[in-house]
Symmetry: C2
């Protein structure tokens, strides 16, 4: 007998400018002929999930009750979010679990453990097209497979993007993140020069211990010089920036411009070399500031995983999915600070911890305390 309802976390921006995140019981549709019903065992809290979950709400003013968090949203932020007002939205980009039901064309999936990038995964049960599921290799647990999409595919897609720009080395900010650690392993394995930028001596030590060669602390007094040297040595002219707000991106692009113009004669318009910035995250929601020291040949763009995966095409997608599945416990291994039930994820203590977005404070939600070995 398949369940007809599921408990899930939903986020609603109310018209009165209150962001409400709550645990609700909601109807669960029956799987269509090509769908599977997944009992979700584990789903990570990624920074991109927090953007939807709490958005720009003022968490210092949040109020908490069992299974419910409520926080005010500043008036200035309401305009940008007007399209979501009044709509309860499911949360949790990705997760893993076991197929416990299936439509007529997907019966072979029953009993398999799968990962999915389907959204609304902070839910006990979730109906998903079978074609969108990544079947996890034998012996991989839901904990190991929960984050098989966002970070691994982002790291792989960074490298694809770099190559599409005709470049062969890259810079990464907030590089001690789970994603950053993956990128370190991936670039070491593939022999790609990577300049890691972090924000503390501890993070430097962490990445160096992993074998990373270039690890720069942006809070160091000698950061600018070290950055220029690393850029000169690696030839890195593309940066993937998780932070977005503030001056760091402009500082990196300026250093690229300085390195690019260091050899040649003075040109009033600066270097003609490509200098490419991609902003994929929003750890700092302040405006991005770009100084006018970049010359005239520079490009800064938003970067989003899904359109990039679309562009890769089905064959390349299958190839990167295959690599992720094969390297889940090595290259793409993910570390968590703790595990939370759906209700615990809305406790004051947990919210304070995971909304810090600090290195080493990533959590896993276990929507369903399944008896299946996770």
């Amino acid at each position: 007998m398949l369940p007809s309802t599921t408990r899930a976390l939903v986020t609603t921006l109310r018209e009165d400018a209150r962001m409400v995140v709550e645990l609700v019981e909601q109807p669960l549709p029956a799987p269509g002929p090509d769908d599977v019903l997944v009992q979700v065992e584990a789903a990570p809290i990624n920074p991109s999930d927090l953007g939807l979950m709490f958005g720009p709400a003022l968490m210092a003013e949040a109020t908490y009750e069992l299974g419910r968090v409520e926080a005010p949203v500043p008036p200035a932020a309401m305009k940008a979010l007007s399209a979501r007002v009044g709509q309860p939205l499911g949360i949790g980009n990705e997760g893993a679990g076991v197929v416990v039901g299936a439509g007529t064309n997907a019966q072979h999936m029953i009993g398999r453990r799968v990962a999915a990038f389907a959204g609304a995964m902070y839910s006990q049960y979730r109906v998903i097209p079978a074609a969108e599921c990544m079947v996890l290799p034998e012996g991989i647990t839901a904990r190991q497979g929960a984050a098989a999409f966002v970070n691994p595919l982002t790291a792989l897609a960074f490298i694809e993007t770099m190559r599409a720009e005709g470049l062969s080395a890259l810079v990464h900010t907030a590089a001690a993140s789970n994603l950053g650690q993956m990128l370190v392993r991936l670039c070491l394995a593939d022999g790609i020069p990577l300049v890691n930028i972090v924000r503390s001596a501890q993070q430097v030590a962490l990445l160096r211990a992993m074998g990373a060669h270039y690890v720069l602390d942006s809070t160091s007094a000698t950061f600018s010089q070290e950055l220029e040297q690393a850029l000169a040595e690696t030839g890195a002219r593309v940066v993937f920036d998780a932070i977005g707000g503030g001056p760091l991106l402009g500082t990196i692009l300026t250093a690229m411009e300085r390195v690019a113009t260091a050899d040649g004669a003075y040109s009033r318009y600066g270097s003609t070399q490509v200098k490419r910035g991609f902003v994929y995250g929003a750890l700092d929601m302040a405006p991005i500031t770009l100084p006018r020291t970049l010359g005239f040949v520079w490009d800064v763009s938003g970067w989003l995983l899904s359109p990039m995966m679309e562009r890769l095409g089905p064959e390349a997608r299958a190839r990167v999915h295959g690599r992720v599945a094969a390297e889940l416990t090595t290259t793409f291994a993910c570390h968590y600070k703790g595990e939370l039930s759906l209700a615990d994820a809305l406790s004051r203590e947990a919210v304070a911890d995971y909304t810090r977005r600090a290195t080493g404070s990533k959590f896993l939600i276990l929507p369903c305390n399944s008896s299946i070995d996770m």
Copy 2:
């Protein structure tokens, strides 16, 4: 007998952080076999010339003597300019004059009036490859042909860039400039929807009188709403920005994002429509600030005429040069506030006037008070 020296304006950033612009007498090379020697009759002072001429020097602290201006450069700006320290650089991107000498392969050019985009045109005489000269049509004066390159080609190249992005309408800032007026005429002639953004009611009146349909005053209280309406009506998703510093570019891209998301369902990542910003000028040298209200699909780039012209290829270049030559007194006509000799261009009064970079304060330098009818 050809001259062996020429008087010219040169700019030098000294090691002691003083920017010195002065009138000097310097040797003039003999033309090579494929060169012409041009007696420069007229050369405009474009904003791009000011960038080289004075750069970030603090003009309020400038000192003036006959044929010489000196101003301090802030320490913060010295780093970016280190490559030009100690080098006297010629000024004046473009100009027009008469060919008074030529190498063996360019004898047919003698006596012709030409325009050129050769740099260092604030000079009585200039040796230039004949192939780089645009021969002006019969009856066109040096005053009319002096600005045949920078603004006309920029306006035409904006439209080429827009088309290369697959777009069919555009936004332009500082739109009452000489370039902006050209773009208005060009877009009217070619039926291209153009959203003009200016900074005063006077400038609105100026462009409206020329027949421009969308002219928005960014200082108006209703600017945001008018901008969104204009973007919705025209479908403009690319902006060419002369200003660069400050929030305007981000405001325009945010409005594009709002219009792009107005119809559809809420997406946490915003619209997937292209939103494209090109920064081609630096009327404001402050950092560009981009708010995080652009969604994830956006691109902002530096834009520079010369690489764009290179990309067009020789055939397209010849075509646009032909159009410019044919429409110099109509579409591409340029208006000047006044005319200055080389020495007068360094007077306190003149510098104060043309460094304001305000609409209607464009000047023409007449390097050589030639007896030839200008």
